[in-house]
Symmetry: C2
Subunit: 365 residues, 2 copies
Amino acid sequence: MSHRTYNFSSGPAVLPEPVLRRVQAAIWDLDGTGIGVLEHSHRGKAFTAVLERTEALVRTVGGVPDSHAVLFLQGGAASQFYQVPMNFLAGGTADYCNTGVWSQKAIAEARRFGTVHIACSSEAARFAHIPSAAETSWSSSPAYAHFTSNNTIYGTEWTHEPAPPAGVPLVCDASSDLFSRPIDVARYALIYAGAQKNLGPAGVTLVIARRDFLERGARDLPTMLQYRTHAAESSMHNTPPTFGIYVIGEVLEWIVAQGGLPAMAERNRAKAGILYDFLDQSALFVGTARADSRSLMNVTFRARDQALEAELVTQATARGLDGLKGHRSVGGMRASIYNAFPIQGVRALVDFLHQFERSHRGRSE
Amino acid sequence: MSHRTYNFSSGPAVLPEPVLRRVQAAIWDLDGTGIGVLEHSHRGKAFTAVLERTEALVRTVGGVPDSHAVLFLQGGAASQFYQVPMNFLAGGTADYCNTGVWSQKAIAEARRFGTVHIACSSEAARFAHIPSAAETSWSSSPAYAHFTSNNTIYGTEWTHEPAPPAGVPLVCDASSDLFSRPIDVARYALIYAGAQKNLGPAGVTLVIARRDFLERGARDLPTMLQYRTHAAESSMHNTPPTFGIYVIGEVLEWIVAQGGLPAMAERNRAKAGILYDFLDQSALFVGTARADSRSLMNVTFRARDQALEAELVTQATARGLDGLKGHRSVGGMRASIYNAFPIQGVRALVDFLHQFERSHRGRSE
């Protein structure tokens, strides 16, 4: 295999190379059918098998119980920001945890449909940490409680789910860490995730939701905006994003071959640990997230001399370390190291940062 | 190149083989970047170039004037069924031409947002033809007039746009014939098309719409459901379906190399002509669409002895002629022969139908 660039993009993001090789073959001919994966009818046998396989893999890899439906939708997490309150808020109150830009976008869309109670927020600390239970106050019997499990921009991640009062449906935007570690799906009423971090290409949104919760959704909505439509028709009410579903299936097969989510979690801890260990001993660089809230997916950091950051990103790119520039809203650097990102790439980054720091000694105070 | 199956699927559908070869390469490495097309950040240089190139090709190939925005959305035509009335109906009246199942689905969603006036319908004739101007009566100053330019299930296609009174915005579901022939885009307020027939893979919806019309849309809608959001941010409000946009660009390059839409129209007339000429002289088979309304995209036909149809489809599939079974709602056979379907495949189908007819002589009366 030819050497490829180390791709630290926050999403769309790196995919496993064996998956890419299989996708290349399937583009021409899926499973010996003489027809490529992009060209198969979504109602034909070949794609039906793809859909069934992918759903089965979501269930086995993710530990998704039969109580929950598995849906492959479109429109990204940005569409879930409104679809969740459109279905479940209906003039009532929902509790939101505000841990950054993506939480805020979800909150803004929810406010169109009812009252939002901010149960907790780390905004005053520039979103550098995940609020603790002591910093959180829930409203009485909200329609649901929403949180963003990983915050790509600030490099923070919930280590455990927030704990609203018993009986409050828990809704999670898990776009950037779903299937990077085991979670207890039974605790959630609805989880949504754009696929383009750990799961596949942009253009598919994986939704995992309790069937009885979906049934509670509003009925005076367009057919396509009712979750129940897609649950009742197994994501086949209209033409689904067939290719994206196929790629997710291939990625999940790869995860199984690596040892499943426990192995993924271990790899991801190891990769992030190498970077955080480096940052903790560096005189030039400093991590931006509080130690107890550090994301295993997106490692955000600054140079103490911020004037060096542009040069650093340029040099890194020239060395085949791509996508390290931080989100435009916060600046600095960000290394996104999702499931498929190789540990060699993390080591290559740390080697480069070491060298960069040595060559700029004296400018780090 | 290895021989592939002739794929008569109504969509997702056959793509040009040179495009598939380029897609295979880009999956591993897009344009020498060392990063595959599925993995590139949508905000990076490489994908920005893809998006700009694809939009420019939509404009040059489709003759789209600057007055019109070009949007790459998600959710298929099924999402446009509600998004159009949600934005533009607002309790008023819209006129719809009812030419089959897809029109009816659009009508059903529009009724959630206002009054639908059925300007014309061929339902009484089982949708075997396109209504004439004499069969059409428009309401006075509707919010817009909607039609379905090609009807995949019944094999009918409008040869010219319907002509509502001057000033009435014309909205078209062109999912199954956009870019199969030249049209005068300036006549339309909004055209939408799922990509999976003539343009690319499932999961991208191309919307071409007059900017001033989009500005008229309702403002009390979720951000993602306002067309203006996507027009103002060039389809980059959130992560777009990057891969689908890339493939559309490749397909459009291929169309340019074939001679553009005039050449496509000529090819498509030639391909459909071979099939219709055969049907018109056959004693066993009969086309289901009225001669003046025949689609160049989907050729629908029956056997006079309908008991033979299942056998025919089975035999055809065994000979590498795949996807000929008609839509489940009408039965019979359907040959979908979009832009990328090769004329050799049409000839192979006619040869097969000839043979089949000869071998069943005497059962055709």
